[in-house]
Amino acid sequence: MRIEVLRMLSEEQRGWLYRAVAKLVLIDERLDNTEQNEFNEVMQALAGSLDMMDVQDLMRSESFSRPLTAPREITPERAWALFVELVRTAVVDARLATAEKAYLNNIMDCLGFAELGREPIFQWIELMAKAHSIENGFAVRLNQIIPQPKA
């Protein structure tokens, strides 16, 4: 997640974002390398460590399991910032699973987004996913685009 975004959030909003990101990553069921860093980051923040016992305790806890409700007195700008950060995490693996799409729809309900504008929002999300797909392609063939001298 982006430092400049995390810094502008209140503690409550940051906690909300961490929970939302953790739930999103868990929904995907397939934790690939691109998502691992995000997952570690939120687990470190929420559970205080990456110890498997601590992470499992957190995931079983009531505070983590209960459904997300919007942070108190959130402005539309801040709601948008939270949503964008969540989307950036959702598309980092370059694909948007049906369950993730449904989850983002629920998040938009939660943050008070109107039904009307969701189509262009999902078009934008697809655009982001495509761009990340190309990015991930570069990362895979890195030794071709930056040949390294032999040791």
Partner: protein, 177 residues
């Protein structure tokens, strides 16, 4: 900027990245409202402080203004981290200006990319287009949420572009709770 990427870099690589982000944001001589926070963080990172005097000093320093130099012995994976971070952070306009394209090409050269340079530029432009769409959606937040929001407020670099409500009041190096 992504914390996990920043954490992987040594101080020389980090400063190189901060400079690249700062120069990219400022390349077209105007700083959009969405870019103010990014510019602040890049310069604060370079200055090692969020103090405005230190930031302005970093912005006018010889290091910041000088042409990019290759990072000696930079591993490919780190070059990619830096390049992707520059693109993901600094390409928040919907399209690149000629100055930004020129700068991005210099960055590609200095990071040691040999093949696929056109594809890298094309990807950067695609990413910028996606971010442009994001900005466009933000400008329609009133439609999306029933409230009025001003997403477009370009601020010129000259003057007090950095003295805005986007200015964080915390130490950029301090851990986030």
């Amino acid at each position: 900027m992504r914390q996990d990427i920043i954490a992987k870099l040594d101080s020389e690589e980090r400063n190189w990245l901060y400079k690249a982000i700062g120069r990219m944001v400022m390349a077209d001589k105007k700083v959009e409202s969405t870019e103010q926070r990014i510019l602040f963080w890049a310069l604060a990172g370079l200055a090692g402080s969020s103090d405005m005097t230190a930031i302005k000093k970093a912005m006018s320093s010889a290091y910041f203004m000088s042409p990019f130099k290759p990072l000696v012995g930079l591993p490919a994976v780190r070059a990619w981290d830096i390049f992707s971070e520059v693109v993901l952070t600094a390409s928040t306009d919907s399209e690149f200006s000629p100055e930004e394209k020129k700068l991005l090409r210099q960055i590609i050269e200095c990071l040691g990319f040999v093949n696929g340079k056109h594809e890298l530029m094309a990807w950067a432009e695609q990413m910028a287009a996606a971010f442009g769409k994001e900005i466009e959606l933000k400008s329609r937040l009133d439609e999306l949420t029933g409230h009025q929001v001003n997403a477009h407020a370009p601020v010129h670099i000259e003057g007090d572009a950095l003295k805005s409500d986007a200015e964080p009041v915390v130490n950029p190096e301090a851990p986030i709770a």
